[in-house]
């Protein structure tokens, strides 16, 4: 089966190369039959990759440990869902998953456009196949998931070798969010390939219009949505499984997925400007090029070991191939944009600062600066080593210093953008629409100050959240009232009809509402409290208004791990709140994992970790009170819901 899988990816590689060349040749000669042949080859490549994917799945499910990837990432006792997840539990297999998604997405795009955009399709296909053949070549030559194990004897002879059992899936990855996190994130990276391919095709065919943006709007939004979901699932995993108390640590791997999300967010907004006003054409092409490359760069970061990170993948010599590929794509992209600069000339100029376009421009500027700062901070060890021969790394302080003000600026723009009209906003309309949100903001600011809030960033954040919230409510109320009057509908009916009628616009506002809640949650970080304690049964510790009483301890062996579990009764103001059960596990391979004891309410999370036993046999506990974390997840969920509404047709 391993040989079969190997054959499949090798064949798929040949097919993708053929499809790439034939698509270009067909486009040049305007020969539809050659293009058709290229498309068939692309479908066949997708079929082959699917078969390869299926054979790796088969190898995992049948515990065939003669294959290195299976022996590394699975074991006999692993529960079935984790055996499936073991496909992406190691470097080699995750590359195959990546290739599988790329091939599948390519096939779907071809099928969707079998009758549309025929002029662009040969070039779209060429870009898709270039990407696919690059990743297939990595999967075949550098990180082949079908490699078999051999034992080598002192005389140099070798023999196939199959260990009796596999190493098992890293216990840290045995958590629901971590099972679905990689596939979701991958689609979130790879999907930007589609708008990028259409952008290239539009340039190649000298299209002036917005056809490429309109044709890929669904792909862009779905990809952006899934990337966001992947980011949040990663944060959830860090929060609940890693046990250091937070959900975001500016780790290179986290940054890798945030960067394309930021440029993708910029693209979503600037694409609207191009559709409405025919401006920012060059900018949009550059943004989608950057977003696509940052997706590739993200895989590069997590796999090449170029920057130190928590990911154990790394350390393969795959890095230089990525750098080569990214340099080629970047170079070709820039040359193409330069060649076609006349086609991309904007149809209009900026009329005034206080207009919707202006707000979008600042939104883009700030998002791109954030991305650049994160890129710089993440890669600084590499750059400093090139330039000065010493590796210098920067910590979370650097990232927070820049990104917290950027976040607040973005929040402000989220509020004021919809208040501005396109082209030019009149003073009278500004006054009218700014009044209610400004009142809400001032009231919130005053209330926060009275309640004793002194942290400047948190204060600014809550004030802006109130402002934005008020603008969004204003938009909904104004729209629903107008519709209600015009059609004689009740307020709620009119509200529903309003959203249904213009899903794009109001879905966007729902997403903005999610952003507001997310920022409320992020501001909670300013008030985190932490305490360490060591207790015996019956003893207590305090953290931020809570009392934790150790009620008992249980230990034992289960399956492949030993565990120790603490029973902590939580009280606030003398009132019992239930028992938290933080746990530590020690797996056979020596790997230990933490399960956090968590009591989450909209106001605050009580977060306890059992960290070990001290020299006197007391149980050590790290306890935190993390206010408002609930709103991070809730806000993200609302953002996703809003995006889903906006994806719907008009």
């Amino acid at each position: 089966m391993a040989n079969f899988g190997n054959f499949c990816i090798l064949f798929a590689f040949c097919l993708s190369i053929y499809a790439f060349l034939a698509a270009l040749a067909g486009a040049r000669k305007r020969a539809e039959h050659i293009v058709k042949s290229a498309e068939r080859a692309a479908y066949a490549a997708a079929g082959c990759v699917t078969l390869a994917f299926g054979s790796l799945l088969y190898l995992l499910l049948t515990d065939d440990f003669s294959v290195a990837h299976v022996a590394n990432s699975s074991s006999r006792s692993l529960p079935l869902p984790y055996k499936v997840a073991a496909i992406w539990g190691g470097h080699d297999g995750s590359m195959l998953l990546w290739v599988f998604f790329t091939a599948a997405i390519s096939a779907i795009v071809l099928w969707q456009n079998r009758r549309r955009h025929r002029d662009m399709m040969p070039y779209v296909l060429a870009v898709l196949m270039l990407d696919l053949s690059f990743f297939l070549s990595l999967g075949i030559f550098l990180s082949n998931p079908f490699q078999e194990l051999v034992s080598v004897f002192p005389d140099g002879s070798a023999q196939p070798f199959a260990p009796a059992d596999g190493q098992g899936l890293n216990p840290l990855l045995q958590y629901w969010a971590m099972v679905i996190h990689p596939p979701i994130l991958y689609v979130g990276f790879i999907g930007f390939l589609v708008p990028f391919a259409f952008a290239v095709a539009a340039l190649a065919t000298r299209q002036r219009g917005e056809a490429w943006i309109a044709a890929t709007r669904g792909w862009t939004l779905w990809t952006w949505l899934l990337l966001g979901v992947g980011l949040i699932l990663g944060g959830k995993w860090a929060y609940v499984v890693l046990g250091w108390g937070g959900y975001w640590g500016w780790d290179p791997v986290e940054n890798a997925s945030l960067m394309p999300w930021l440029t993708g967010t910029a693209f979503l907004h600037s694409a609207i400007v191009q559709e409405r006003r025919g401006m920012l054409k060059i900018w949009n092409v550059l943004l989608i090029l950057a977003t696509y490359l940052l997706g590739v760069f993200g895989t590069f970061l997590t796999r090449s070991g170029v920057v130190n990170s928590v990911h154990a993948f790394a350390d393969s010599n795959i890095g230089r191939f990525f750098v080569f590929y990214m340099a080629v794509v970047l170079g070709l992209g820039l040359i193409m944009v330069y060649e076609r600069r006349e086609v991309l000339r904007g149809e209009r100029r900026l009329d005034s600062m206080l207009c919707r376009e202006g707000a979008f421009l600042f939104n883009n500027l700030v998002l791109v600066v954030a991305c650049f700062a994160i890129f710089w901070g993440t890669m600084f060890p590499v750059f400093s080593e090139w330039v000065r021969g010493v590796k210098i790394s920067v910590g979370p302080v650097f990232f927070n210093k820049i990104n917290v003000p950027i976040g607040l600026l973005l929040l402000l723009l989220t509020g004021v953008g919809p208040l501005f009209a396109w082209r030019k906003t009149s003073a009278a309309s500004l006054k009218k629409s700014f009044l209610p949100p400004s009142v809400a903001a001032v009231a919130t600011c005053a209330a926060s100050l009275l309640l004793g809030l002194r942290d400047p960033y948190a204060l600014a954040c809550f004030t802006l959240c109130a402002f934005v919230l008020a603008t969004i409510v204003e938009e909904f109320v104004r729209g629903a009232r107008a519709r209600g009057r015009a059609r004689g509908e009740g307020f709620l009916v009119a509200l529903g009809g309003l959203v249904w009628k213009d899903k794009r616009r109001y879905g966007g506002y729902v997403a903005h509402l999610g952003v507001v809640l997310l920022f409320v949650g992020l501001a909670g970080n300013a008030f985190n409290e932490e305490a360490n304690g060591a207790m015996r049964t019956g003893q207590e510790m305090r953290v931020g208004g809570y009392t934790l009483k150790m009620a008992g301890f249980r230990e034992g062996v289960q399956g492949t791990y030993q565990f120790g579990e603490l029973y902590l009764e939580a009280y606030k103001d003398g009132k019992p709140l239930g028992t938290l059960r933080p746990e530590r596990r020690l797996y056979d391979g020596g790997q230990s994992t933490t399960t956090v004891g968590l009591r989450s309410t909209p106001l605050e999370d009580l977060y306890v970790v059992y960290t070990g036993t001290d020299a006197d046999g007391r149980r050590e506990v790290k306890a935190r009170v993390n206010p408002l974390v609930f709103w991070v997840w809730a806000g993200a969920a609302l953002m996703f819901a809003g995006t889903l509404i906006a994806i719907g047709k008009k």
Binding site: L149, L242, L365
Partner: protein
């Protein structure tokens, strides 16, 4: 003044302010990244600086009996004693043989005071089977 000029000036002010914040943040949080061997080679020049020190946790060196955990990390040639003075949870991946990255500075008594520990497992298969097996490329 045209709208474009206003936008450019406004943008420049924002970017300049952020660049300044970035510079301040960089100065506050930068740390040199060296291996244990490199560190031992240039102790004089790196003595007082905040560093990220990379090495493998020496098997059997982890001593949790003291109030502050101590252990040793080594690059191939030399090693150094580390005392963990931070309050963050020690990562689950920290164990004998793990690749560790400790952030902190050298104390007067020659022990490296680490405020922060990162660790990752050595690549799994190679570590376990290295002496008798080797991965073969197939076909």
């Amino acid at each position: 003044m045209t709208a474009k000029a206003k936008f450019i000036i406004g943008g420049a002010v924002i970017v300049a302010a952020l660049a300044w914040l970035g510079f301040v943040g960089f100065q506050e949080s930068k740390s040199y990244y060296v291996t244990v061997d490199e560190f031992n080679g240039m102790r004089d020049s790196l003595g007082g600086k905040t560093l990220k020190l990379a090495g493998d946790v020496v098997a059997g060196s982890i001593d949790r009996s003291k109030p502050q955990m101590e252990f040793a990390i080594a690059s191939p040639k030399t090693d150094i004693r580390v005392r963990y003075v931070g309050s963050d949870i020690i990562p689950d991946t920290f164990k004998d043989g793990a690749k560790a990255l400790v952030e902190g500075r050298l104390d007067a008594d020659g022990v490296f005071n680490a405020r922060h520990i990162e660790a990752k497992c050595a690549s799994k298969y190679e570590a376990e089977y290295d002496d008798r097996t080797r991965l073969r490329r197939n076909p």
